[in-house]
């Protein structure tokens, strides 16, 4: 990873965290709010592997916690998103080989993220009523995979613009 690429990661994530409450949350769609952040984290993880995935997730979580209006306990979003970024990076799907598999991975990862977050909030903050979570999960999966159709090619294009990929970028265990 060269510094230009890290800059691109930080910039895209920061943009997503800012635009989410202002635009996406106000579209008033049923169920979950369209989560551009998790889709971006997944896109970078798919392209660049677990280290980048986990770091991107961590940064995204920090930004989320520090940008109003969210006021959760600091660190919980970082924890959940770095786990998701890491796991997606470990799967090693290639968007160049299959169109649908990355979308499936993103949908699955965003659903896991909600469950992870709910569990963490239940443990550290206050118990959550899991009764309505099903609606959130279904809508989140749909929105995230639809969003990934655009986001993954965009990030792939951006990544190519930023120079050749080193083998060490895509380390997997």
């Amino acid at each position: 990873m060269n510094s230009a690429r890290w800059f691109a990661v930080v910039f895209t994530i920061f943009f997503a965290v800012l635009i989410q409450p202002i635009f996406l949350a106000r579209l008033n769609l049923p169920g979950a709010t369209i989560d551009l952040i998790v889709v971006l984290v997944c896109a970078w993880a798919i392209l660049k592997g677990p280290i980048v995935g986990a770091t991107t997730g961590f940064l995204a979580g920090l930004f989320i916690d520090l940008v109003p209006p969210t006021e959760p306990v600091l660190g919980l979003n970082s924890l959940a998103l770095s786990v998701v970024g890491f796991s997606v990076g470990m799967l090693g799907v290639k968007p160049s080989k299959s169109f649908f598999r990355p979308l499936l991975v993103v949908a699955f990862a965003s659903v896991v993220l909600i469950l992870l977050r709910a569990t963490l909030i239940s443990i550290f903050v206050s118990p959550i009523a899991f009764s309505r979570i099903f609606e959130l999960l279904i809508t989140q999966a749909i929105y995230s995979s639809l969003l990934a159709v655009f986001v993954i090619p965009l990030i792939t294009w951006l990544d190519r613009k930023l120079g050749p990929t080193l083998r060490s970028d895509e380390l997997r265990i």
């Binding site: 635009f23 008033n28 520090l66 209006p69 969210t70 600091l74």
Partner: protein
Amino acid sequence: MRDNGRVRAVLAVLLLVSLTLTILDIRSGDGALLKTVRSISANLIAPIQQGLFNAVNPVRIFFSDYSELIDARQRARELEAQNVELLEKLKTSDDARRRASELDALLDIAGSGSYRLVPAQVIGIGPRQDFSWTITIDAGSNDGITSNMTVLNGEGLIGRTSTVTQTTATVILLIDKSSRVGARISGRGELGFASGQDLPGQIEFELFDAIAKIEVNDVLLTWGSEDGQPFAGGVPIGRVSSVESKPGLLTKSAVIEPFVDFSKLDLVGVVVDSPRVDPRPIVGPTPEAALPSETETE
């Protein structure tokens, strides 16, 4: 093998840092270091967020207008029918006029206890999968807003402010699980606590008195805190949609339907100065007064 170790180490470090932050934040309580960090970052980000909001809002309005276009035709038909009905009513308005003058007199009394509001626009909404209900408004400490102030709109109580920057403020909504408001039933005066349930159209009201009378459609008002913070007195909250009475329990509870439609928040007011005279529950809005459009179309 060295590479495998590196991947694991990165993950381990990130998770440890996250957990440390979490524990620090939980342990530090109010007014501690992390709160300061959050307030500084919020202050830095506020102008960017506001600029972005101004740039993006026309696009959002276009999208929501488009989706509302479908409803608009139906709405026009309803309004036409309503119009005919209202014209009928106008012809028999002598008696209504007398009642209106009486109401005016009442409103004068209510007006003496009116709130001083700072109007503000909602610029950001927290994601629903965060399991908390918060919004950002475009008024902050420059406009005289501090944390723990009442936020309301024309329909009723919305919530209270929490983090405040110079130009924006975060509002914790009434329906958030952490919200708990002292409330009384209008006209009856029975007291209790209304608390959020994380559901957009539902609040739980717990009465102190297990044998108190409470009926469906009773209106709930805030009873007000000391100095009007966090909650000013006499703000309509919602009306009772069902009453639950569990024998053997010391308290009685009711499900409240809030007057405010939390999915369509736009213009809100922040109470910067509480009324000197608490508006008595009897001059507070009745269900008809608080929900004019609904009762007329029914």
